[in-house]
C-alpha cells in the first residue's frame, strides 16, 4: 500500500478537521477579533461593577444617598459647590462631590450604572422574548396571523418613540401610586421597563419574521413536517437554533439603545428622579448652570463612562455579527 505510508501523517490533520458546531466556529472567529475581545472585556467590566456596586460602596465606605453638603459643610460653599478644585476630588472622595446636595460622585456613578443597566437588560430581555414570540409565530404560521402581527408592528413602528415615552411615563406611574405615599422607586423602574418594552421589540420581531419565513420553505423543515413532527417541535428544534444569530446580533444592538433611551428619559426628568442615582439623571444635573459655571469636572464622570460603554457595546455587537456571519457585509 503506497498510500498507506501517508496515512499516519494525516491522522493529526483529521483530528483538526473534526466537526465543529457553528457556536464553536463563532467562538474561534470571535477570539481572533481583537477589538471584539477588548470591547467584551469593557462591557463585562461595566456589568461587574454594576452588579458589585453595593459591595464596592461598602468597601469604599460611602453611599450615594448621603447629603455631604449637610454632613460635611466645611467642604462646600453656601451654594453647595465643592470648595476644593475639580469638584472636590480628594483621596476621600475619589470622583469628587456633586454640586448642590453634595452626593458622592463615585458611588453615585456606580449605582447610576447599576440602575441604568438593570433597566436596560430587563427591557432587552422582554423585547427579545416578545420579538421571538411574535416574529416567529408570524413567520411560521403566515396567512392571517402574519398579516395581523405585521400590521401591529408597522403601526407601532410609526409611533414617535421619544414623545410616547415622555407623555406616557407620568401616566403609567400614576396608575400605581397611592395619594399619600411617595412614588416608590420600583414603580418608576417598572414603568420605564414597560414603556420602553412596548415600543422596543418590533425591529427584532420583523427580522425574525423574515428569517422564519425563509426557513419555513427550506427542505429540512419540510422533511420534519413530512415525518410528522408537531409545529411546537419544529419551532423549538428546527427553527429557533437557526435564528440564534439574528437574535444575538439584534440583542447586542438593542441594549445600548435602551441604555441611551433610559438615560434620555431621566435627563428629561420623566425617568428616575433624585435621590435615586441614575446615569441619565447625572447628565441632567451636569447640564445645570450651577455645574456648568462652577464645576465642569463633574460632567466628565457620567459622560466619559457612558461614551466608553456605548462604543464598546456597539463594537462588541459588530464583532458578534462578524463572528456569526462573516460573509455579510455590514
Amino acid at each position: 500500500m503506497v498510500d498507506g505510508a501517508a496515512q499516519p501523517a494525516a491522522t493529526p490533520e483529521a483530528k483538526a478537521l473534526e466537526g465543529r458546531s457553528p457556536g464553536q466556529l463563532m467562538w474561534i472567529r470571535f477570539k481572533r477579533d481583537r477589538t471584539g475581545v477588548i470591547s467584551a472585556f469593557v462591557v463585562i467590566f461595566f456589568f461587574l461593577i454594576a452588579a458589585a456596586a453595593p459591595l464596592i460602596a461598602k468597601l469604599y465606605g460611602k453611599n450615594p444617598y448621603t447629603v455631604y453638603a449637610d454632613e460635611r459643610p466645611e467642604l462646600f460653599d453656601s451654594a453647595g459647590v465643592p470648595v476644593q478644585p475639580n469638584g472636590g476630588i480628594s483621596s476621600e472622595f475619589w470622583f469628587g462631590l456633586e454640586p448642590g446636595n453634595g452626593y458622592d460622585v463615585f458611588t453615585k456613578l456606580l449605582y447610576g450604572i447599576r440602575t441604568s443597566l438593570m433597566i436596560s437588560v430587563a427591557v432587552t430581555i422582554a423585547a427579545v422574548l416578545t420579538g421571538i414570540l411574535l416574529g416567529v409565530t408570524a413567520g411560521y404560521l403566515g396567512g392571517r396571523t402574519d398579516y395581523f402581527i405585521s400590521r401591529v408592528i408597522d403601526f407601532l413602528l410609526a409611533f414617535p418613540a421619544q414623545l410616547f415615552f415622555i407623555a406616557s411615563m407620568p401616566v403609567v406611574v400614576s396608575l400605581f401610586v397611592s395619594p399619600t405615599d411617595e412614588t416608590p422607586v420600583y414603580v418608576r423602574v417598572v414603568a420605564l421597563i414597560l414603556v420602553q418594552w412596548f415600543l422596543g421589540w418590533m425591529s427584532l420581531g420583523r427580522v425574525l419574521r423574515g428569517t422564519t419565513l425563509a426557513l419555513r420553505e427550506r427542505e429540512f423543515i419540510e422533511a420534519a413536517r413530512v415525518s410528522g413532527a408537531p409545529p411546537g417541535r419544529i419551532i423549538r428544534r428546527e427553527l429557533l437554533p437557526n435564528v440564534v444569530t439574528p437574535i444575538l446580533v439584534q440583542g447586542t444592538y438593542l441594549l445600548p439603545n435602551f441604555v441611551t433611551a433610559e438615560a434620555g428619559l431621566s435627563f428629561l426628568g420623566v425617568g428616575i428622579v433624585e435621590p435615586t442615582p441614575d446615569w441619565g439623571q447625572m447628565f441632567s444635573k451636569a447640564s445645570t448652570e450651577l455645574v456648568m459655571q462652577n464645576d465642569i469636572t463633574y460632567m466628565f464622570f457620567p459622560g466619559i463612562s457612558m461614551i466608553i460603554f456605548i462604543v464598546a457595546f456597539n463594537l462588541l455587537g459588530d464583532s458578534v455579527r462578524d463572528a456569526f456571519d462573516p460573509k455579510t457585509a455590514r
Partner: protein, 602 residues
C-alpha cells in the same frame, strides 16, 4: 405681595442647554467676600420704621440723582410678561415694580438715601402722606395742583372716587383688597356687598365711607382705626384711574396713565415700549425722574439668558438692565468673583420669607413634641443651596423678614443659624418622648428644579431624626392651589410669603389668623390659636407704628417658638446686574429690586 411670591417662585425653572466648552478642569467654589457684616448693616437699616413725610417732603421735583444725564434708551429684559396694566389688578411684584414708571397714587414711598435703603411715605398726587385727627379712623387727603393724566385731563377727586369705587366691581379680582375690607369693615371677600357693581350703575360709596366734598379733597372714613392707610395707598394697586377713561375690563389693555412715562405699545408675552409723557410735571412728583427717553422692555428672557447678556456687556447690552431678573444661581459666584462685574451689581432683600408649614389639621401633627422635633430636625441649608447660596438666601430665625419692622436678628429658637443642617439628636429625643419614632411624614414639594433639590436633602435630614418621609411632587403651576385646600394630604410643605408694605400686619393676619381658614386662603398651616387671634385684634388697634411693630414682633416669635406651626426656611435675597452704561442703579428695599424711577444712561 403674596401673589408675587407665587408667580416668582412657582414659575418653571428652565434647563439651560448651553454648549459645553471643554476648557479643562474646574476650580472650586468659594464664598465671595465677607458679607456677614454688610448683611447685618442691611438688616439694621431696614428695621428703622418708615416715617410719614410732611408737605415739604411731598413737593416735587424729586431730589436729583448725582451725575444723572437726560436722554438715551434703556433695554429691559424681563422674565415674566405683564398680565395686567389696570392698576387695580396689579399685585405681583414684577408688575408693580415697572408700573412705578407709569402709574401714580395718592401716596408713595420716597427713597431718602441714594442707596434706596431709607424711605419715608410722602404724598404723591396728594400734598402729604395724609392727616388724621382721630387716630386713624378718618384720613384726609388734598390733591396737588397741576396733576394731569397722560391724555392731558386734570386729576380730580372724582377720579380718586372712581379709583376706589371700581375696586368693588367683580372684574377687579387680582389686586390687593386691604382698603376695600377696611371700608366695608369685613374680612374675606364680603366687602363686595358694599357696592356690588362698582360705580357703573349709578350707585356710589356713601359719605360715611368716602367723601369728596370738592375737586381737591378726599376723605376716608373707617369704622376702626387703620394707621397703615398711608402705606397701603402707596401700593400700585391703589394708583389713580381716570373716571372719563374708565373702560372697565378694557382698561386692563389700555389704561390712562399718569406717571412720567406712557405706554406706547404693549404686546403680551413679547414687548412693551415706554416713552416720555409730556403731560407729567416734575414739579408735582417727589418720587420720579424722567431722564431716559425710552424703555424698550422685552419679555420671556430667562434669568440665565439675561445674566449672560449682561455679563458680556457688549453693544446694546451696555445700556440694558433687568428690573425683575436676578443673577441666576449658577452665575452668581462668577459675577461676584470678578470685581469689574461686581461693581455693576446691586443686592438686597426680597420681601419673601420661606416657611415650612406643618399642617395642623392632621391629627398626627397636633402633638407639639412632634412639631418641635420637625423644627429641630429640618435642615434649612438645602433651601439656601437650592437658590444659589448666601447671596440669594439668608438662614432665617423668625417669620418676620429683615425688611419688615419688628424683625429681631437675634431670634433663633431652633438654632438654625448655628446648625443650618438641623439638629437630629435633639429632634430624635423629642420624637422618642412623643413615642412616634418612625412616623410617616408626607412632604409635598413643588416640582421645580429648586424644589427637587431641597426636598431630597430636607427629607434626608428629617429621616436622620427618625421620621419616615414620603416626598410627593406637586406640579409648580398648581402648587399653591393644592396646598391651600383645607383637605390636603401633605403634613409639611414650603410656601413663600412677602409683606405688602414693610409691616408685619401684612404677614401675620393673612397667614396665621385662625378665622380665615378656607379653601384657597393663605392660612396654609391651618393654625387656629385663640391667643394669636386675640393678639391680632389687639395689635390691629394700636395706632402707634413703633409700638405696633414691637407687638407684632413678639407675636411672630410666639408663633414660631410656642405654636410651632411653621419653621422659617429662608429670607430671600437677590443680586441684580446692570449694563456698564446704566447710571443711578440702586436696590430699593420697598420695591425689592432695582428702582426704575432713577435710572439714566451714562
Amino acid at each position: 405681595m403674596s401673589k408675587g411670591g407665587r408667580h416668582a417662585y412657582a414659575a418653571l425653572s428652565v434647563l439651560a442647554a448651553g454648549a459645553l466648552v471643554l476648557t479643562g478642569c474646574s476650580k472650586g467654589g468659594s464664598d465671595t467676600g465677607d458679607n456677614k457684616k454688610q448683611d447685618k448693616e442691611n438688616a439694621q437699616r431696614q428695621q428703622a420704621t418708615i416715617k410719614f413725610g410732611d408737605a415739604a417732603d411731598s413737593q416735587g421735583p424729586a431730589p436729583a440723582v448725582p451725575g444723572a444725564k437726560s436722554g438715551g434708551t434703556i433695554a429691559v429684559p424681563q422674565r415674566d410678561s405683564l398680565a395686567h396694566l389696570d392698576p387695580a389688578q396689579i399685585y405681583v411684584s414684577n408688575e408693580s415694580q415697572i408700573a412705578q414708571l407709569y402709574h401714580r397714587g395718592l401716596t408713595g414711598f420716597k427713597a431718602t438715601s441714594n442707596d434706596g435703603g431709607e424711605h419715608e411715605v410722602v404724598g404723591d398726587l396728594a400734598t402729604d402722606a395724609g392727616t388724621t385727627t382721630d387716630g386713624g379712623k378718618t384720613w384726609k387727603y388734598t390733591l396737588k395742583d397741576g396733576i394731569k393724566f397722560a391724555d392731558g385731563s386734570a386729576i380730580t377727586s372724582k377720579d380718586v372716587r372712581q379709583t376706589f369705587e371700581r375696586l368693588f366691581a367683580s372684574f377687579i379680582n387680582t389686586g390687593p383688597t386691604f382698603i376695600q375690607q377696611w371700608m366695608a369693615n369685613t374680612p374675606g371677600a364680603d366687602y363686595r356687598k358694599l357696592l356690588p357693581d362698582g360705580p357703573y350703575k349709578g350707585k356710589h360709596l356713601p359719605a360715611g365711607v368716602l367723601e369728596t366734598p370738592d375737586a381737591k379733597t378726599v376723605v376716608f372714613h373707617f369704622k376702626t382705626a387703620h394707621a397703615d392707610l398711608p402705606y397701603a395707598l402707596g401700593m400700585v394697586g391703589y394708583a389713580v384711574v381716570s373716571q372719563k377713561g374708565d373702560t372697565k375690563e378694557k382698561y386692563d389693555k389700555n389704561p390712562v396713565t399718569s406717571g412720567p412715562y406712557k405706554i406706547q405699545s404693549f404686546k403680551s408675552g413679547k414687548s412693551m415700549v415706554l416713552v416720555k409723557n409730556p403731560n407729567w410735571d416734575p414739579k408735582t412728583d417727589p418720587l420720579r425722574h424722567q431722564y431716559v427717553d425710552r424703555f424698550n422692555v422685552t419679555f420671556n428672557q430667562q434669568y440665565e439668558d439675561s445674566t449672560k447678556a449682561l455679563i458680556a456687556d457688549s453693544g446694546g447690552e451696555q445700556t440694558a438692565v433687568s428690573l425683575q431678573n436676578s443673577v441666576d444661581a449658577g452665575n452668581l459666584a462668577k459675577v461676584l468673583g470678578d470685581p469689574k462685574m461686581k461693581s455693576r451689581t446691586v443686592k438686597g432683600y426680597q420681601p419673601f420669607v420661606g416657611q415650612m408649614n406643618i399642617n395642623l389639621s392632621h391629627p398626627a401633627m397636633k402633638d407639639k413634641k412632634v412639631r418641635e422635633a420637625i423644627a429641630y430636625a429640618l435642615p434649612v441649608s438645602p433651601f439656601q443651596r437650592a437658590y444659589g447660596g448666601g447671596e440669594a438666601m439668608e438662614i432665617p430665625g423668625g417669620i418676620i423678614s429683615p425688611t419688615v419692622t419688628g424683625y429681631d436678628p437675634n431670634f433663633d429658637p431652633w438654632g438654625k443659624k448655628k446648625k443650618p443642617a438641623g439638629d437630629p439628636a435633639k429632634a430624635k429625643k423629642l420624637l422618642k418622648e412623643a413615642g412616634k419614632v418612625g412616623m410617616k411624614l408626607t412632604f409635598g414639594y413643588i416640582n421645580s428644579q429648586e424644589g427637587q433639590s431641597y426636598s431630597t436633602a430636607m427629607a434626608a435630614g428629617l429621616e436622620k431624626a427618625g421620621f419616615d418621609v414620603q416626598r410627593q411632587e406637586i406640579p409648580s403651576e398648581s402648587f399653591y392651589d393644592q396646598v391651600s385646600k383645607i383637605k390636603n394630604n401633605y403634613d409639611i410643605f414650603n410656601t413663600n410669603w412677602g409683606a405688602d408694605w414693610p409691616s408685619p400686619s401684612t404677614v401675620i393676619p393673612p397667614l396665621y389668623d385662625g378665622r380665615t381658614i378656607a379653601d384657597g386662603a393663605s392660612n396654609y398651616s391651618q393654625i387656629n390659636d385663640p391667643k394669636v387671634n386675640s393678639e391680632i385684634d389687639r395689635i390691629n388697634k394700636i395706632t402707634d407704628p413703633v409700638k405696633a411693630a414691637a407687638a407684632w414682633g413678639k407675636l411672630g416669635e410666639y408663633i414660631v417658638k410656642d405654636v410651632v406651626n411653621v419653621v422659617p426656611t429662608g429670607y430671600f435675597k437677590q443680586v441684580q446686574i446692570a449694563g456698564s452704561k446704566i447710571g443711578g442703579v440702586a436696590y430699593d428695599d420697598v420695591i425689592a429690586g432695582i428702582d426704575p424711577r432713577r435710572l439714566y444712561v451714562k
